[in-house]
């Protein structure tokens, strides 16, 4: 889901990029899924279509989406590639947590737990 906060500090085009990356990260958007056309998204969000086009151009440059002339934009195969959009926030939060006195072990435990949960879920899904 893309949520735009126009009064926020993050540029609107970056908020769109993060929203789409977030949907990919959560598994809502899968490789080769079509993402909404720039004008549709612009109307839905009530923002300027050029801003959406700018966001799409940035995502395409970073290899997160690809476009087919006349057909629209699609989610690219990511193949476990780490994009900074997915890791930046993680790094910053890790830094903050360590500053606040959370131990390295606790953070490692969280990572391990989330990873296990997700791989169990994946197995469960494929058994259905």
């Amino acid at each position: 889901m893309i949520v735009i906060d126009v009064t926020g500090r993050v540029p609107i085009f970056e908020q769109i990029c993060r929203g789409i990356c977030g949907d990919i990260a959560k598994g809502i958007l899968k490789p080769h899924d079509r993402i909404p056309a720039a004008r549709v998204l612009a109307k839905d969000l009530g923002i300027n279509p050029n801003t959406v086009a700018k966001a799409y151009a940035a995502l395409e440059r970073d290899g997160i989406i690809y476009s087919l002339a006349g057909k629209g934009c699609f989610v690219a195969e990511h193949g476990n590639r780490a994009d900074r959009r997915f890791t930046d926030e993680f790094e910053q939060k890790t830094r903050e947590a360590l500053h606040a006195g959370v131990s390295r072990e606790t953070l490692a435990e969280i990572l391990e737990r989330v990873w296990t949960e997700m791989s169990e879920k994946k197995e469960g899904d494929s058994n259905d």
Partner: protein
Amino acid sequence: MIEVNKVSVTYTGLRGVRIVRNKALDDVSFTVPEGSVYGLLGTNGAGKSTLMRAMGGIFRPDTGSVIIDGRDVWNNAEVKTDICYVGDELSWYERFTVGELKTYGQNCRPSFSGEAFDRMVKALELPKERKISRLSKGMRRQVVTIFGVACCTKYLLLDESFDGLDPAMRRIIREILTDEVCDNGSSIVLSSHNVTEISEACDHILLLHGGKIVESGEIDDICDRYRKIQLVGSEGNVSREMLEKAGIAVLNFMGEGCVAQAVVRGTDEEVRAGVSKLHVNPVETVPLTLEEVFIYAMREKGYGKINAEK
């Protein structure tokens, strides 16, 4: 493309027996790229409406020129078929009913689309038979704005078009403008003093104050020209003077002792480079929001300071 070249406009008036000259625009130059939505943002009396009128070929600038697709807009009927200017003064339209305004458009504007006008009138549930002077303030705005859109010109100049509209209606009008940009590839120039409105609707902006340009360009670039930083002094106190001595333009400074927060001019790299000369750790630097740019850049020009502060 609209090129505004060194435009100056001076209003001359009489105060008692003295002739008073008031510079409304002072050497304003900028370019509106094709297909962009350009926002004119300014303080009250900054010259937004004067600039709009000069761009629409309604005012002749004292010096400078407005060139639209290579042709001077002043006194040029041919260029004017490519532009539609909707002013903030609506009394001219009040003589018509909504339906008559459509007839007027069909007769006087070559590219006018009666079909688009009807569609929008229906969508906004505007009364066709009613005289525009009998409509509410917000409804009058809606009528003239959709009239401007229905003219289907390459350039649409809208002065304070969101004025007096409720949030739902602002949204609808913006969606109509989005269609306009996508379908016709039109360029739109909007003026407003509402920062949120501008940051949602526009990709480029011009920040005006006292007839002069304060900033112009893409919104994100403009916001990136300023930084809010949090500083911690590693050897004692942090002061405004320290930063200024290091060559940093400080717009605002808050804090006492060794922790401070400052608003400065410059990109992230520039600011970090400046601070690195001092015994100070920049803890965090973030770009400004458009609203903050407006407030601090204007305050630097002496606007919005409360006298008691001095």
